[in-house]
């Protein structure tokens, strides 16, 4: 055999080639690997993968060195794409929030179906730290007139003090001069809400006064509009009592805080009228 290998290598090569061709013909179109293939591939593949990984890194390196412009262009393209997606995401989030707010207003309007409402987006607010007026889109052309009430699902916002053709200004509950006739929902005792309670430079709530001397009022009582004065319809939620003052104080009887987030208002409901 050794002699044959030395003297007749061509014959051996041709025989081996023929055998390999037969093997190739037998293995055409196979779907599953043989046991020998499995063993060989299992042994070599980890090394092959490592080599492949190194190749990728080397390729990346040379691409960066020799084709920096292509990387730069790709980077710019991807940056633009990310910016576009970010803008779209912000838009979606804003729409989602708006949807939630409008759904809340709709619930409120449905619960008070005896009133005609109009939704007015807030277009501006003054820069006063104790925000006292806001401007909304919608004016006389939309049927808004002065002294109409503005509300949200969280309570009363204020009343219309100025009306243009396409805009209106609302004096909010946080204005020092605002006065509203209210009553304690539990006891139906009436009083007046107006003026701000400020402690250490922070707005705490609104003053409630003119309650009867023997009024039964407690912390946590709900305050609603009484309907007197003709601006705010009766029974609208205003806020809750957060503390009572001393009897001798005399200035006001209790402090009421509103649930409305005046600094982040985005839409309000204007009460255009009442059914009937």
């Amino acid at each position: 055999m050794k002699k044959l290998w030395r003297n007749r290598p061509i014959l051996i090569a041709l025989l081996a080639a023929a055998l390999f061709l037969v093997l190739a013909a037998l293995t055409v179109g196979r779907r599953s690997a043989s046991r020998a293939e499995d063993m060989f591939s299992g042994a070599v593949l980890p090394v092959q993968e490592a080599v492949s990984d190194i190749t990728d890194r080397v390729t990346d390196f040379f691409t960066r060195v020799f084709f920096p412009s292509s990387i730069q262009q790709e980077n710019q393209r991807l940056t633009k794409l990310v910016s576009a997606y970010e803008r779209r995401l912000i838009l979606y989030e804003a729409m989602e929030q708006e949807n939630a707010r409008l759904a809340e207003l709709l619930d409120y309007a449905s619960a008070n179906s005896n009133f005609y409402f109009m939704t007015a987006p807030v277009s501006a607010r003054n820069l006063d730290p104790y925000v006292d007026t806001i401007t909304v889109r919608g004016g006389s052309r939309s049927g808004i007139t002065e002294q109409m009430a503005a509300v949200t699902a969280q309570g009363i916002v204020g009343r219309i003090i100025e009306v243009g053709a396409t805009y209106s200004k609302i004096r909010t509950m946080q204005n020092e001069d605002m006065r509203i006739s209210v009553m304690v929902e539990r006891t139906r005792e009436e009083g007046m809400l107006g003026g701000l309670v400020i402690e250490n430079g922070q707005l705490v709530g609104m003053k409630l006064y003119y309650l009867p001397k023997d009024a039964d009022i407690q912390v946590g009582d709900t305050i609603v509009t009484s309907g007197l004065g003709g601006i705010f319809p009766k029974g609208l939620y205003v806020g809750k009592v957060i503390f009572l003052t001393d009897e001798d104080n005399g200035e006001y009887d209790a402090c009421v805080t509103s649930d409305v987030d005046f600094e982040h208002l985005e839409e309000v409901l204007i009460i255009l009228g009442k059914e009937g």
Binding site: W5, R6, P9, I10, I12, A13, L14, A16, A17, A18, L19, F20, L21, V22, L23, A24, A25, T27, V28, G29, R30, A36, E37, F40, S41, V44, L45, V47, Q48, E49, V51, S52, T55, D56, T59
Partner: protein
């Protein structure tokens, strides 16, 4: 001892195996991927002997097929046919390297042609002339260049073996 004597050859064999199956397919420069195992085999045949070439062609081709091909045995068969053909080509000690390189390139082209034929036989359809002109020919020429590089690498090894003898 024999392992140490043929260390460069074995390393070249392993390098060719991984270049063909893992490295070069990723650097696909206009489909011009040389057949390094074939180049290694032909270089070994030129510098050492046809027996060495047969061993490299059979083992290397089979391993590459086991790793990548679905026709196990085609590559070693083609390599062995190329080894036999190279043996029959007219050449002696004075033959210029460029001629040897062209021989290797021509044999590499023959291998590509036979591979295309095998693909056609098993039912694959492709643009033959386009594949030959833009794929097989550049690949064959590059394989010839690799074979020349292999010869330059193996010659000092052979010289050391002769000196030692």
């Amino acid at each position: 001892m024999a392992l140490k004597k043929h260390a460069a050859l074995i390393l070249s064999f392993v390098a060719a195996l991984f270049l063909d199956t893992a490295v070069l397919p990723k650097w696909n420069l206009f489909s011009m991927v040389p057949f390094v195992m074939l180049a290694c085999m032909l270089a070994a045949e030129q510098v050492f002997s046809i027996q060495t070439a047969i061993l490299i062609g059979a083992l290397g081709g089979l391993m590459e097929d086991l790793l990548c091909e679905n026709m196990i045995g085609l590559t070693p068969a083609l390599c062995l046919l190329a080894a036999v053909a190279y043996e029959k080509l007219p050449k002696d000690g004075d033959t210029k390297p460029i001629i040897l390189g062209l021989y290797c390139g021509a044999l590499a082209f023959m291998v590509e042609l036979l591979r295309a034929l095998a693909a056609w036989v098993i039912g694959m359809r492709f643009a033959f002339w386009t594949e030959m002109l833009y794929g097989a020919l550049p690949r064959a020429l590059l394989t010839g260049l690799w074979a020349l590089a292999g010869m330059a690498l193996f010659k000092p090894l052979l010289k050391r073996q002769v000196d030692a003898a």
